[in-house]
């Protein structure tokens, strides 16, 4: 799991390319430093927004690849995101015990093939959302930063709703507070 080359194709390849291109005058500043960073974070956004993308191909657009070695290097982050999705996607698996099994008992086993497919769909959905929010309608360097801020601000307000790191640490140490 997360050890073989991954390819973005078609429209998604184009989007990832744009998300990882330089946007300032020097061409050095990129919203996402690596294709891998898009791959790690897109599924979170895809899942939170219930957006699954469908792979497509276009001969005119070159594929964008992430090498297996790179994936292996980031496997802890990828596994963390994958586990969160498997634990929390009630639409995909309504049975809580089965979700726990998917996230832990059978994680990375042969049974998890469909689960990986789900992950990839969220990756593509997330790529689409990133592209919509951060790239479309941005033209100047200031636009990119302003749109990035809008995205972060909306996300902070509508999704994170004041959850802070200390709340998470407290949950880890003490369990659920009633």
């Amino acid at each position: 799991m997360f050890d073989k080359q991954y390819r973005f194709t078609g429209t998604h390849a184009k989007m990832v390319k744009e998300l990882t291109s330089g946007f300032d005058e020097s061409g050095k500043l990129k919203l996402f430093k690596r294709n891998l960073d898009v791959y790690i974070n897109a599924p979170i956004i895809g899942f939170i927004n219930k957006r699954k993308g469908q792979k497509n191909t276009d001969n005119d657009i070159a594929d964008v690849s992430i090498l297996g070695d790179q994936l292996i290097g980031e496997s802890s982050n990828l596994e963390y995101v994958f586990r969160l999705i498997l634990l929390l996607d009630e639409e995909y698996e309504p049975d809580k015990t089965k979700r726990l099994d998917k996230a832990f008992r059978y994680f990375g086993k042969e049974e998890s093939e469909n689960d990986l497919k789900l992950f990839d769909e969220y990756v593509l959905g997330g790529v689409e959302i990133f592209h919509e929010k951060l790239i479309q309608s941005s033209s100047s360097s200031s636009d990119y930063i302003a749109h990035l801020y809008d995205f972060i601000d909306d996300f902070n307000e509508l999704t994170n709703r004041g959850i802070e790191s200390k709340d998470i640490v407290s949950l880890c140490v003490n369990g659920k507070q009633t």
Partner: protein
Amino acid sequence: MLLKSIELKNFRQFIDEKIDFSVDEYKNVTIIIGENGTGKTTSAQAFFWCFYGETSFADKNVINKKVFADMLPDVPTEVRVTIRLKHGDIEYTVIRTQNYTKTYSNKINPENSRLDIAKKDASGNTTHVEHTRVENEINQILPKDLSPYFFFDGEIIEKMSKEITNGKKSASFAEAVSDLTGLKAMSSAIKHLGQGKYSVLGKFNDEYISDSDGIIKQLSEKIDMLQDKIDKANLRLNEIDECVAAAEETKEQCGKDIMQYSDGAELQKDREKYGRQIVEKKSLKSQMTKDVIEAFNSQMTSFLSITLAKKALDMLADSELNGKDIPNMHADTINYLLSKGVCICGTQLNEGSIAHAKVCEYLNYLPPYSIGVSVSNFISDIRGRYSMNVTLHNVVADKLNTIRSLDESIENLEEEINNISKKLDGKDFNKEVNELNGRIKECNKTINKLRVEHDQLLEQLGADERERKFANDQRQNLSLHDKNNRQVELFKAYTQAAYDSLNEELKAKESETREKLQKTINEIFQNIYNGGLSLTIDERYNISVEVNEYDGVVETSTAQSIAVIFAFIAAISKMAKENKINGSEDQSYSEPYPLVMDAPLSAFDKRRIESICKAIPETAEQVIIFIKDTDGDLAEKFLGDRILKRHQFQKVDELHTNLI
């Protein structure tokens, strides 16, 4: 003189147009509206061309370009301007025509223009003026010298405006006073009587009969020579005065320019400073942007997943998976022991034995049968991720605020630079300032040299005058011995008396006219400015304009000068009109004339336009105003019922204008 109409045929952009003017006593205003380039100036110039055969256009060929383009070689085409006017009781038709031909090589070939005048007297008899006399006739209707005051000419505005702005002696005012009131005739008479060798007095000087010793002859020659010298010295003194004034003016202008350039040098420094500030701010902005991107890339996973992490932890806490798991072991370890049949402690693990069953039981507490360890590891991972605060939102908000304020500063600085650049217009200031300083030095040198010459001349002049007087007295004494010479002396005394008397009257009249002009101008100002502006002309024709605040607003100097010129022209017109009404018997006063003006209303604000529009028809007997379409509505509103005729120019194209 009242203008009735003008007809333009093939004259510049007019192919065949006729403009009628109001000759009504009350409704005496004609307005002609047209946007820039429709031919307002052309139609004003058409009057000059018709009367005097001249225009102020650089291109002296007045034929319509389109007509010329369509002409066949060697077939002449006529340009014609016809003016109908009334002067005294006589109706005049003044026609100027000029034939143009095109050569086979497409060159323009103008013939001399021809002036024809037809006169219709009160009894209806029409006569044609002989060709040799037409120009004289025109000069009697409207002397060429006077025409610029009535056909409001751009050049005279500029000249007068400069004189007024610089507070210099105004030649235009001086000329106007002598030209308009007919004093020119008197000054010609004075010149004829007593100035120069060929004057009456000069002639008498030749009449002396020489005595036997030839002394009278010698004295006469000496007096002539000295008079010549004195005349020349006076001329030169005038020249020097003018040269010094011109040099002073140049010097002053250079000084002003230097001030502007020294401001310019400051501006240039500012521009460079702002340029550096922009570079600094852009670099800071770039750093801020980089910080945002760094924060986003390093914290985005934690930031985006924090809510999922919380939900996952809540869910796991509900699942009671912790407590029984054996840490750091896997089911494979147990399976290995079972397959070997021996426990780590050496106990045999035979199937069915209690020991075997006990070891098998551990499998339930180890992965994959138990997920407690995995969950525990997962929770540890989450804890590790959030042990540091996720500050992405705050960091980005802070940096973005800074970026926005930097953007704003950069934009302001760029605007400043733009404004400065417009002012500076890419000039090399040091070079310009050096050149100007050089010119000032030259001027100073010239002025000093001229002043020395001036003083020397004055000294010499005094000596020459004394010597001439002495020679004159001597001649007078000697003349008493001869009868003829006594008579010459007597005639000379009469001539001198006539000369002095005329001179005195001229001075008095001139002073009276000047004062009247000043008074009339100030009356017009009173109408327009409620006393906010006043003007004085001293005996040397130095003009000074005093500006008081007008409703708290001080006019720009352009509007001021235009107001002065307008008032000047209106005043002359008004004076002429009053003279006609008073039925002055004095032959020196001339006919009233129309006021034809390319109205410079756009220099004024709305309220001022109203006052000017109300003053114009009161001051002149006939008013013809060429006006920009943007001011047309205003003029029409304020001139109101004084307008009888309205015309509008419409541009068909650059080479053709219609009257609609």
